[in-house]
């Protein structure tokens, strides 16, 4: 059971992208170099520099225009494909049930990104590890709201106790349906056994650019079943190699230092 989750009420989203820039600001993520490619949505993809963004989708149904905007990013799934795909156990559920990447354990294999149904994991080539939304773990541990949520001007993003948020979402769905939005639905309550992002949608998920039925790929499950027991060995191997590398570096450094000392002495 999660303690706190985030409501994403797309019926109140105006696409202002305050969440998107608040994420960049709090996490000090650099701006990407983009071009205008025909949509307000930018950057075009999630990356190690873009953990959350507003996805824009235009539709025309028999002359009726709609323009759906929704904040998307890591869903912090309960049945998280990335955790199952990770060979080193770098990706894990935290004590707040968020999905986090331990950068020390990450070997940059990118399997997590391939397994994720939401395509929200980025890869930092220079540092060689995966990066994604942390759900502002440090903020929520300190009793603050995630940065994106605190920036939302309309009440589209609400952070709170899981029970309260689910009730709020259900009430909103009822209201939207009574208002003629017969396709209004909750998304993220049962998908992948529940996510930390609970969406209120006015239409089918795919019309927002969300997967209709997100799940852990069968390959990932098989891979995890075979590989899972070996994980401890992999971790040990990686740890050993890191330790060995560290010692080697230390020896090198020490050697360098002594040579410098020697040089100083000569002079």
């Amino acid at each position: 059971m999660r303690s706190q989750i985030c409501l994403i009420d797309t019926s109140k989203c105006i696409g202002c992208r305050a969440c998107q820039s608040a994420c960049k600001q709090w996490n000090q993520l650099p701006a990407e170099s983009t071009t205008f490619q025909g949509s307000y949505e930018n950057p075009p993809y999630f990356s190690c520099m873009t953990w959350t963004k507003v996805v824009f989708r235009e539709h025309n149904d028999n002359g009726r225009t709609s323009w759906y905007m929704s904040k998307q990013g890591c869903m912090h799934c309960t049945d998280a494909a990335c955790i199952l795909a990770c060979p080193t156990g770098a990706i894990h559920h935290t004590d707040h049930e968020t999905v986090a990447i331990n950068e020390i354990k990450c070997i940059g294999c990118n399997y997590c990104a391939a397994a994720c149904a939401f395509r929200v994991i980025g890869f930092d080539r220079s540092a060689n590890f995966a990066k994604k939304c942390t759900f502002c773990y440090e903020r929520i541990r300190s009793g603050l709201k995630p940065a994106c949520t605190s920036a939302c001007p309309t009440g589209s993003l609400v952070f709170g106790e899981e029970r309260t948020i689910i009730r709020q979402a259900q009430d909103r769905i009822e209201q939207l349906r009574a208002n003629g939005r017969s396709q209004a639905r909750i998304y993220g309550l049962n998908e992948v056994q529940g996510t930390a992002m609970l969406y209120v949608l006015e239409d089918f998920p795919d019309r927002y650019g969300l997967p209709a039925d997100p799940s852990v790929p069968i390959q990932t499950r098989i891979w995890n079943a075979i590989y899972g027991p070996l994980r401890i060995a992999v971790v040990l191997a990686v740890t050993f190699s890191l330790w060995a590398n560290f010692n080697k570096n230390r020896e090198l450094d020490e050697g360098k230092a002594s040579r410098q000392d020697a040089g100083g002495g000569k002079r």
Binding site: S11, K12, C13, I14, G15, C16, R17, A18, Q20, S21, K24, Q25, P30, A31, E32, S33, T34, T35, F36, Q37, G38, S39, Y40, N42, P43, E58, H59, N60, T65, S66, W67, Y68, M69, P153, T154, G155, R172, Q175, N179
Partner: protein, 801 residues
């Protein structure tokens, strides 16, 4: 705004017209969403484009840019024909029963009102407004017919004027589906019932037309007919685009207005202070106090030098010479070499002005130019533009780096007239200084120069009361606040509010409307931050709203003539039968010494007749808003065949707008300009911000799919846009945004395509792009000379890769 942001939560129907509220005023949506969630309020979005506001609205009414008056006139007719107006409100609180002169008339062929004559000053037309006045009864009072049946009464004139504004006709003019149009009328007119509140909010999509002021008038008429003025959830709500643009207007940013909306004296009419006061002070209404405010202002300007014998320094004030000196006219003077220098303070007309490429050309005629801004603007760097040779330009440019708003303390007035203090957050970098510091240093140096060297008319400068320095010679903002608030000249003690101001020179006040906002040095009202206790979101103990901390103006109208609130759920003020006094959740905007019936006779206290003006002789281009096409129009005027665009509008250049069919073929598409949430105004602040550039990296033009297919334009490809203003030039380049959010419109039996462009780009900063305003025309509204940015004609072609 007559109301305020938080008050939106009480609306039953909200109409966003000529304003993209979700995009450009995101916080408004918090309160609109609250109204929708808590009381099932509906949001109507009237906009040529399917905007981010349309995306969250209940009903989107697409209309052709520049046809707002037709849309609103159609709504007036719908309300009148279907008897949906709030009858008791209209009878008691508006001038509907008043009788207008018998020789008043309107010619539906020419679209002209009675009184048209030649204006020798402007070589254009103007109105003699004598036939637009009220009839007088035998006692000299305004005559009225309380049955509202007389053909001369305002209500019947209104019916007659808008009789042709049928739903079918309006649909044909504005290019909208008639059923959608009628549904929007039906929905908004439901707020005419007592106890219901309709809110019309707007921005530059109402005002930036050659008939912009009349658009605002039309909104006022609708809100008065439906009884939506003065009550919670109602109002005429102009949403201001910048955190303190309301404050700038209050403090007289316009050349024809002095602080507190006192008119600038005119050379031809106001030779003396006595002339000004006698001619500008009406016989009834709150403005009878004008002499107190004007003399107190002169005392604030000239201090001990302002005495009765020298008319309190009145002769040192600059006077209007009868010519237009607004933005477009000023640049025309510059083009003609009549201007020597220009100080551009937080202004970037090289991008924001209409026909901006001409503006940049004219700037080279200046001897000197000062730019005060956060970054190097296109105006300051006009000489760096591609194609310009700096060697040919003699203008000397000074750039003064200014502090950003969080780097200085001061107060801001928001759209809801709340004057809120903002504390400084951090020091400004480098040599950047606050605007106040810059103006103080500038003034002191000027004064010293005038004192030493004399010069032409040194008196206004050397006699100016300007003692804002602290003991260390630095500007002290509190001293400025004290002067704006007003004080007793003898004792120096602060006045409680503007009720204490006098016309004998015993008080000084920099802006009567703000008086009271800083009346306590230890606890200035503008710094108050107490939570609200009224229960309806008035927040009376949070900051200070002008005037007199009133949150909703004309709030006498929230109650019926007996003093009972129309809507008891959210009462503003009410008459307590037990105690025989007025009570309220707001500061009453009327004389509470009067009984309900007496106060109900003049609830609009600023006007001499005390009633909302459905018919008004105030504007120069007609007593009733009438449909005129924009200057650049793709069609003839379907209502008034011999009229095209506003016959009184301000025109400055020949061969500047599209007037022939040949030109209409050359520039067939309707262009509208706008803002996006990611960038701000001319982009000077935001285009230097990488995170915002990432989201909106390039100038784009929105085009509907049908037009794109016709012109072979793919989504995201480069296109060139040109207009009559850039005739025989290549046009400006932008990326194409081919979208379903724009649709072709059927106008007058012909298909018209609307294209839209944001105007945030220029050739300076981190993110460069073409200037959209190079395309827009320099024509203006006759009352304000606001340029017609929102509707013009253009042509588009694909750029060869």
């Amino acid at each position: 705004m007559t109301n305020h942001w938080i008050d939106y939560q009480h609306s039953d129907v909200i109409m966003a017209i000529g304003g993209n509220t979700a995009e450009n005023h995101p916080v408004s949506m918090k309160w609109i969403e609250r109204a929708r969630e808590n009381k099932g309020a509906k949001l109507i979005c009237v906009d040529p484009r399917f905007t981010r506001t349309a995306a969250v609205s209940d009903l989107h009414v697409p209309l052709r840019p520049g046809t707002n008056t037709a849309y609103l006139g159609g709504l007036i007719r719908y309300i009148l024909e279907n008897e949906l107006y709030h009858e008791e409100y209209v009878r008691s609180y508006t001038n509907a029963p008043f009788l207008i002169q018998g020789d008043f008339g309107f010619d539906a062929l020419t679209g002209l009102f009675s009184g048209i004559e030649d204006d020798p000053l402007r070589s254009a037309k103007r109105y003699d407004r004598s036939s637009w006045q009220y009839q007088k009864d035998e006692h000299g009072h305004d005559a009225a017919d309380t049955s509202m049946q007389s053909p001369d009464c305002v209500l019947q004139l209104l019916r007659k004027h808008y009789a042709d504004y049928t739903v079918d006709k309006i649909a044909e003019i504005i290019g909208c589906d008639r059923d959608v149009l009628e549904e929007s009328y039906r929905l908004f007119a439901t707020t005419g019932k007592p106890g219901k509140a309709g809110n019309i909010l707007y921005a530059m999509g109402i005002t930036q037309f050659t008939h912009g002021a009349q658009n605002v008038r039309a909104i006022g008429i609708i809100q008065s007919l439906l009884g939506n003025m003065g009550l919670a959830g109602g109002g005429v709500n102009a949403q201001r685009g910048q955190s303190n643009v309301q404050g700038a207007t209050d403090m007289a940013i316009l050349y024809h207005i002095m602080p507190g909306y006192l008119g600038t004296p005119q050379q031809a009419h106001h030779a003396s202070l006595a002339d000004y006061l006698s001619q500008e002070t009406p016989e009834a209404g709150w403005w009878t106090n004008k002499p107190k405010y004007f003399v107190s202002l002169l005392k604030a300007f000239f201090g001990r030098h302002a005495v009765e014998d020298n008319e309190f320094g009145y002769q040192w004030l600059p006077k209007l010479d009868g010519n237009d000196h607004s933005h477009i006219a000023m640049y025309k003077s510059m083009a003609e070499g009549d201007m020597e220098g220009l100080i551009c303070w937080a202004d970037n007309p090289a991008v924001s002005g209409p026909t901006a490429s001409d503006k940049r050309r004219y700037t080279a005629n200046l001897k000197w130019l000062v730019s005060v801004d956060l970054f190097e603007t296109e105006t300051a760097s006009f000489w760096k533009e591609t194609g310009k040779n700096p060697e040919d330009i003699d203008t000397e440019v000074f750039v003064l780096p200014a502090a950003a708003s969080y780097e200085r303390a001061g107060n801001k007035a928001n759209s809801g007239r709340w004057i809120q203090w903002q504390w400084k957050v951090q020091d400004a970098p480098g040599e950047c200084q606050s605007d106040l510091w810059i103006v103080n240093e500038l003034f002191k140096r000027l004064r010293d120069l005038y004192a030493e060297e004399g010069g032409t008319v040194p008196e206004p400068i050397v006699n100016m009361a300007w003692q804002y320095d602290d003991s260390g010679g630095q500007i002290d903002i509190v001293k400025v606040c004290q002067e704006i608030n007003g004080f007793h000249v003898d004792s120096g003690s602060l006045v409680e509010n503007f009720l204490a101001l006098q016309d004998d020179g015993s008080t000084a006040c920099g802006n009567w409307l703000y008086s009271g906002y800083y009346n306590d040095l230890n606890k200035p009202p503008c710094q108050r931050r107490e939570p609200e206790t009224e229960g309806i979101g008035s927040h009376l103990q949070w900051a200070y709203a002008w005037p007199l901390n009133r949150r909703i103006v004309y709030n006498r109208c929230s109650a019926d003539p007996e003093g009972k609130p129309w809507n008891p759920d959210v009462p503003q003020v009410w008459w307590d039968d037990q105690t025989w006094e007025w009570k309220g959740h707001d500061v009453p905007d009327f004389n509470t010494g009067l009984t309900p019936i007496n106060s109900s006779r003049a609830p609009f206290i600023m006007l001499p007749e005390g009633k909302a003006r459905l018919f008004s002789a105030f504007l120069s281009d007609g007593p009733l808003p009438s449909h005129y096409e924009p200057a650049d129009s793709p069609t003839a005027n379907l209502l008034y065949p011999e009229a095209s665009f506003n016959p009184i509008s301000q025109r400055f250049y020949e061969n500047h707008v599209v007037e022939t069919d040949a030109d209409r073929e050359k520039y067939p598409h309707v262009l509208t300009t706008y803002r996006v949430v990611e960038h701000y105004q001319t982009g000077i602040m935001t285009r230097n911000m990488p995170w915002l550039n990432e989201m909106m990296p390039e100038l784009f033009v929105e085009i509907d799919e049908e037009l794109a297919a016709e012109l072979g334009i793919d989504n995201g490809c480069r296109v060139a846009i040109t207009s009559k203003r850039l005739e025989n030039q290549a046009g400006i380049e932008a990326k194409a945004c081919v979208t379903q959010r724009l649709r072709p419109m059927m106008v007058n039996g012909r298909k018209v395509h609307v294209v839209g462009m944001p105007f945030h780009w220029g050739f300076m900063g981190m993110n460069k792009g073409a200037v959209a305003n190079d395309l827009t025309p320099s024509v203006g509204d006759p009352n304000t000379t606001i340029p017609e940015f929102k509707a013009s004609l253009c042509s588009i072609r694909r750029c060869d890769e």
